[in-house]
């Protein structure tokens, strides 16, 4: 449970004592009933909106939480809790780009609020705003080395930008504080692999594949498949990518990787079908088109290959980045 959801002791115009007690006891549904009743009497009370928004967030009803926080923000533009609530709800809805301005404002309004900073760092990480994210998250872990969540986001940020050594250090710091984080371990296995620590990566990947909570994650199997493929173990790689596909059936990325693996196994027909499916699912991504173009060429389907090449020629496939 994120720290900020433990509740704000802010005064509301109505008597929220009973609902607050229920909330504090983790009885969110009951608390929500009372907050709703109170809101009917005072529909523009921002503190009530925040309370109900927070409760809905706890219940995982993020869309309603967003709407409630948004109302609170419109009524009282400079209320930090409303900004944080809205930003965090948007983050939960996987709309991190939209979350960033609200979280930036929250941090501006309350610079000491670590929860707001962490949420902002998380949003930057998800949007790969590298330098901003690095600044916020480094500051958080520098001021509190036991902030496992910030270490994790920092590790993920480094990982996503291919800085595997600092990623590994941050992930290790996070895992030492909070071992039960499958995604952190998956990142760690990937970082070990990229750093050429093949044995360590193999050991960790294997351990994760037999851990039920991790094995339920398609990203584990995708990472494992990539690791095996890059170490020229194509058949086990195919098995791993099939496990991923079983968990996430309509992923362009998985089809792309399976096409690569099949191509390396000389199953050109299978590779073509998967690459075509990947292009169909995500026509805007160049990677699958490049692979499909090569497959068509191998199969002598020159017209189709030329079509893909023409698309790629018009697409800027360059790497993005600010500095290096």
């Amino acid at each position: 449970m994120p720290a900020w959801l433990l509740f704000w002791l802010v005064a509301a115009s109505a008597d929220t004592t009973a609902a607050d007690r229920l909330y504090a006891a983790g009885q969110f549904e009951q608390a929500a009933v009372i907050y709703r009743q109170l809101l009917q009497q005072a529909p523009r009370d921002p503190k009530l909106l925040i309370r109900l928004g927070t409760t809905q967030y706890q219940l995982g009803v993020f869309a309603e939480a967003e709407a409630l926080f948004r109302r609170a923000v419109s009524i009282t533009p400079d209320l930090e809790q409303a900004e944080v609530g809205l930003g965090t709800s948007l983050l939960a809805l996987d709309r991190s780009r939209e979350a960033i301005p609200f979280l930036e404002k929250a941090v501006k309004l309350a610079p000491a609020d670590r929860m707001a900073q962490r949420a902002l760092g998380h949003a930057y990480q998800k949007e790969n705003e590298f330098f901003k994210g690095e600044r916020v998250l480094r500051s958080l872990v520098a001021s509190d080395g036991k902030d496992a969540e910030s270490w994790y986001y920092l590790g993920a940020l480094f990982y996503d930008n291919n800085y595997y050594l600092p990623a590994l250090e941050a992930l290790n710091a996070s895992l030492a504080l909070q071992p039960a984080n499958d995604q952190a371990e998956i990142y760690k296995a990937g970082a070990l692999s990229q750093l050429g620590r093949t044995q360590d990566a193999a050991g960790l990947f294997h351990a994760l594949t037999i851990k039920p909570s991790a094995a339920a994650r398609p990203e584990l199997w995708l990472g494992y498949a990539q690791f095996l493929f890059e170490n020229e173990k194509q058949k086990p790689s195919l098995e791993a990518i099939n496990r991923a596909a079983a968990l996430l059936p309509d992923s362009a990325k998985l089809y792309f990787w399976r096409a690569r693996i099949l191509m390396s196994l000389d199953d050109i027909q299978g590779a073509q079908a998967d690459a075509e499916k990947a292009v169909q699912l995500a026509p805007e991504l160049p990677n699958s088109r490049n692979l499909l173009m090569k497959i068509y060429r191998v199969r002598g389907l020159d017209r189709q290959a030329d079509e893909q090449a023409a698309w790629l020629a018009g697409h800027e496939s360059g790497k993005k980045g600010s500095g290096r």
Binding site: P166, Q194, L285, R297
Partner: protein
């Protein structure tokens, strides 16, 4: 018969696979090769600081000993060589493992912020001429044949000022005869549009970084046709080359499709690479994507830097290797022949694993242990400011990867001798047998550090043969000529004459072959540019063989 075949095969495999340990000894200081590459870095993180400097291996005085030319930076932002420390330098090989600085006498100190050197006898007079590519100034030096050079840039019309773009920032250049008229033409790769007074700021405020090339607009490459009278015509547009806007770095030449016309590969920085297929009518089509060399199989462009275009697996088809940045992996594209398609063999060759955590600039595909298989040399270093994120220092050791003859390479760097482990910000590399002992040596530049001369001291190397081509109808250097060498066991080795190797650099023009235990070549077939073929039978080895183009 079966027994004979078995014995021959056994002999070849046994000798090829023998543990010939590639070794180098660094001898620059001892040899008097005293050069430090200056990039004029001053804490402003200007893009050009990253990019120097090319180096060339040439025999400018035809004494049979290969000399060395270094390009150098200049003051910034003036981009002028305001002090002797910025001078380009020519070192004469004294043929006794020492060198003498002859820059002043030769008159090649240069102007502007230089990047690359390209060597060839463009006027077919028997003396190696020198083209310097740079940020603000390109120079063509004609070799007078008396130990001095003449700057004929303006007279030749080869300064590179484009009517639309002005003087572009040139990073590499190379000579080839694209129309097989017997005169060498010049290809110049250009990087990005850049102004020393308008450098952007990149990276976090507390740790400035060099800007990613995505922050700059690209530029087209240039092609200059040699008119045969000491002048050149800019045919960049009419040839189709200028249609393609890139961020050009290293370039390499080969006739990849076997049609008798030399094609051009340009490694681009962080956008897709270009492969210009020579159509044989004075025009080129860019086929990098269709041929499968524009992008790696993973579909991402890499920060392409150095490149070489040679046959690593002795199947008669030139293959491509490209260096890149950390996490890119260097790329190896195997030429499958047929319909112009290359296969990305980066993983299956072992390159992915061996190069994923390094950043490479200069490179070359040469047979360092003379076992019949071309090995790989890489001049490495990370971008200087990335140490904070990579968690490692930017200076790296160079790499030498031994070709195992089965499509795979192994890292032979750690056992290549203590000198080889020295770390620096390495850049350009040029390859030649500087001491004429039959083993290919390497000269490497390093940013703000002394250049290194790695003398090949590999023990127990095999026999060798170096072919010196002298063109008649073809260009005098024979650049573009393809050579097939047949051994007693029937095996064939392939190479072609090309001096544009690696990054911004130029290597010796001799065409080399490592022969393992084979002490004779049954036949040597030279296919000169334009298709004329010449065959020599029963050739002795372990020497430089001069082949003059027949009538």
């Amino acid at each position: 018969m079966r027994l004979l075949i078995w014995l021959v095969l056994w002999q070849w495999v046994a000798l090829s696979a023998a543990d010939t340990q590639i070794r180098f000894e660094e001898i620059a200081k001892k040899a008097g090769l005293n050069f430090t590459l200056k990039n004029a870095a001053s804490g402003h993180y200007r893009q050009i600081e990253l990019m120097p400097g090319g180096v060339a291996a040439l025999d400018y005085n035809n004494d049979g000993c290969t000399d060395i030319f270094f390009t150098n930076g200049a003051a910034v932002p003036s981009l002028r060589k305001t002090a002797p420390e910025f001078s380009n330098r020519l070192f004469r090989n004294n043929c006794d493992s020492t060198f003498t600085d002859v820059t002043a006498k030769a008159g090649v100190a240069g102007e502007g912020y230089s990047m690359a050197a390209a060597v060839a006898d463009f006027d077919n007079d028997g003396f190696a001429d020198l083209f310097i590519a740079g940020v603000n100034r390109n120079i063509l030096y004609r070799n007078r044949g008396d130990g001095t050079f003449e700057d004929i840039t303006n007279k030749a019309g080869i300064g590179g000022v484009d009517p639309k773009y002005g003087k572009m920032w040139s990073v590499s250049a190379g000579w080839f005869d694209y129309d097989n008229d017997g005169r060498l033409d010049l290809f110049v790769s250009n990087y990005v549009r850049w102004d020393p007074l308008k450098e952007k700021e990149c990276g976090p405020p507390d740790h400035r970084l060099y800007c990613h090339p995505g922050n700059y607009a690209g530029t087209p490459n240039q092609l200059f046709h040699n008119n045969g009278d000491g002048t050149f015509t800019d045919v960049s547009r009419s040839s189709g080359i200028a249609e393609h806007i890139g961020k050009g770095m290293g370039l390499s030449f080969a006739d990849f499709d076997g049609d008798g016309f030399i094609d051009v590969f340009v490694a681009n920085d962080s956008i897709r690479n270009f492969l210009f297929r020579n159509k044989g009518n004075g025009t080129f089509e860019e086929v990098g994507l269709q041929a499968g060399v524009a992008l790696a199989d993973h579909g991402n462009a890499i920060a392409g830097m150095g490149t070489d275009f040679r046959d690593y697996n002795n199947d008669g088809l030139p293959d491509l290797v490209v260096t890149g940045m950390v996490n890119d992996t260097y790329l190896l594209f195997r030429n499958r022949g047929g319909k112009h398609l290359f296969e990305d063999n980066t993983i299956s060759s072992g390159l992915a694993r061996l190069t994923n955590q390094i950043t490479g600039w200069g490179m070359g595909m040469f047979d360092f242990d003379n076992d019949g298989w071309k090995d790989l040399f890489f001049a490495n270093s990370h971008f200087p400011q990335l140490n904070r994120y990579l968690g490692t220092q930017s200076e790296l050791a160079n790499s030498v990867l031994r070709n195992l003859g089965n499509g795979r390479f192994e890292d032979a760097s750690k056992t290549a001798g203590p000198d080889f482990l020295a770390k620096a910000l390495y850049r350009g590399a040029a390859f030649a047998d500087f001491d004429n002992d039959g083993r290919v040596d390497v000269v490497v530049t390093a940013l703000n550090a002394p250049a290194k001369l790695f003398r090949n001291t590999t023990p127990g190397t095999g026999h060798w043969l170096a072919v010196k081509l002298i063109g008649g109808k073809s260009n005098r250097d024979g650049l573009g000529a393809k050579i097939c060498l047949t051994l007693a066991d029937g095996r064939k080795l392939y190479n072609h004459a090309a001096t544009s190797v690696g990054y911004a650099s130029s290597s010796e023009k001799l065409v080399r072959f490592g022969l393992a235990a084979q002490d004779r070549a049954t036949a040597i077939e030279v296919q000169w540019p334009g298709g004329r073929t010449q065959i020599m039978q029963n050739v002795a080895v372990d020497h430089v063989l001069e082949i003059r183009e027949g009538p």
